[in-house]
Subunit: 224 residues, 2 copies
DNA sequence: TCCTGCGTAATGCCGATGCAATCTTCACAC
DNA sequence: GTGTGAAGATTGCATCGGCATTACGCAGGA
């Protein structure tokens, strides 16, 4: 696992870095928001540990900027303040977890591991289900190392489903992923895409099944 | 191949740029360390040519910063100093190669090519798709041992596509490979090159197809 | 000066997409 | 087991936008 530690106090940073590295966690360190953003953009990290009080602003302000770049890296916010308001602010801003200083580093490690496990499948840039590999970096589906050509909508559907194999994706979530907010969508356009996608996956014997969950959504899994 | 040239003397920069471009190398130019770092971070380059004496510091200081960002791009350091100490300093700092001014540009080109090949070690010097063989060492396309003459841009397109046969190359990646940063590219210049390249490949019955992936990019593969 | 490479723009074409009609499957009740 | 209604699946069709192609003019090298 590799994380980005954003913390301006040198001593705190050093202590944390040492503790994390002892747990086999790779730590990149940034002391300012500007640096942090530049580094985070590279997308190398499995998690971000973010101090709120930084020389160039509130750490939380980084989160929406990362999200805007489609960096869905989980974020743990650190703060000296323990008030409920601050906790809410942190989670509102999109932090995935929240720790109040002072805290035991073992707890931070534990939470990082938890986040990592939780998001592991979604963050790898390749996911494999059945005989199908989806490469998020190149945005292509591969069967036996051959690209499977998928048009835009179908590809978006597949991307969304394969991020959480075997889990239900609600219909609304799918629509959000496939259509922009201002794209009005009537009728059953989504169903049609699912249908076409299924057909293509069958044609190449991808060993994948897309199941409808009535009144809820769909899930993708290796065919039994 | 695309490189980042970091050199503050305008004349030197201009001469090198011209010489390299004559060898079909795409050159992005930065005059300061700050600029260079910002551009290098984009990860577009196959190599960095780095002058040591720069207005904002010793060029070598860039290398550890790039490594910290896990940019493993090879670096050739240029210097006016030929002392052993300087050579050691350069290699210590992580430069892959080292040249003392003044030097012959042909030598620089040769070393760049060597580095480039080395960084593609996993890849053969020749790739064959359909009836077409592309020889990266001599930078020529062969059909039945007959060289196929391709102008610069078309060859760059082919090189990029054939590196990953049967896989999608995103439009942006193609543009990066074929054009320098400051080359304004409007309209459909890339499309036009693809079209001309296709025509030439068809003319010699190369047995190759270049497919468009709508909204994404292109893919090259043996014709079915 | 001629020639070739290149970028641009106009035009034509085809695939992707949304829609709607029709068929199939599922859950539940009896 | 079976009937029924609702949700889902599939497919043909018209539309639209992106890609392909080609002609043209410019620029740089022979």
């Amino acid at each position: 696992m590799r994380i980005l530690l954003i913390e301006d106090e040198p001593e705190m940073a050093s202590v944390l870095k040492t503790a994390l590295e002892r747990q086999d966690i790779i730590v990149d360190h940034a002391a300012t928001l500007a640096d942090a953003e530049a580094v985070a953009r590279l997308g190398h990290h499995d998690a971000v540990v973010l101090d709120r009080r930084l020389p160039d602003g509130d750490g939380l302000s980084l989160i929406p900027r990362l999200r805007a770049l489609h960096l869905d890296v989980p974020v743990i916010a650190l703060t000296a303040l323990s008030g409920l308001d601050d906790r809410v602010a942190g989670l509102d801003a999109g932090a995935d977890d929240y720790m109040v200083k002072p805290f035991a580093t073992v707890e931070l490690v534990a939470r990082l591991n938890a986040l990592h496990r939780r998001s592991f499948t979604t963050r790898a840039n390749q996911v494999m289900v059945g005989r199908l590999t989806y490469d998020f970096r190149h945005r292509e589906a591969l069967v036996e190392d051959q690209a499977l050509e998928l048009p835009r909508r179908e590809r978006l559907v597949l991307e969304t489903l394969i991020r959480r194999p075997g889990r239900t994706i609600m219909r609304g979530a799918l629509e959000e992923a496939v259509y922009a907010l201002d794209d009005e969508i009537g009728s059953n356009a989504l169903d049609a895409h699912i249908s076409r996608l299924r057909r293509k996956l069958d044609d190449v014997a991808a060993g994948i099944e897309i199941r409808a969950i009535r009144n809820l959504g769909y899930l993708l899994r290796a065919a039994s």
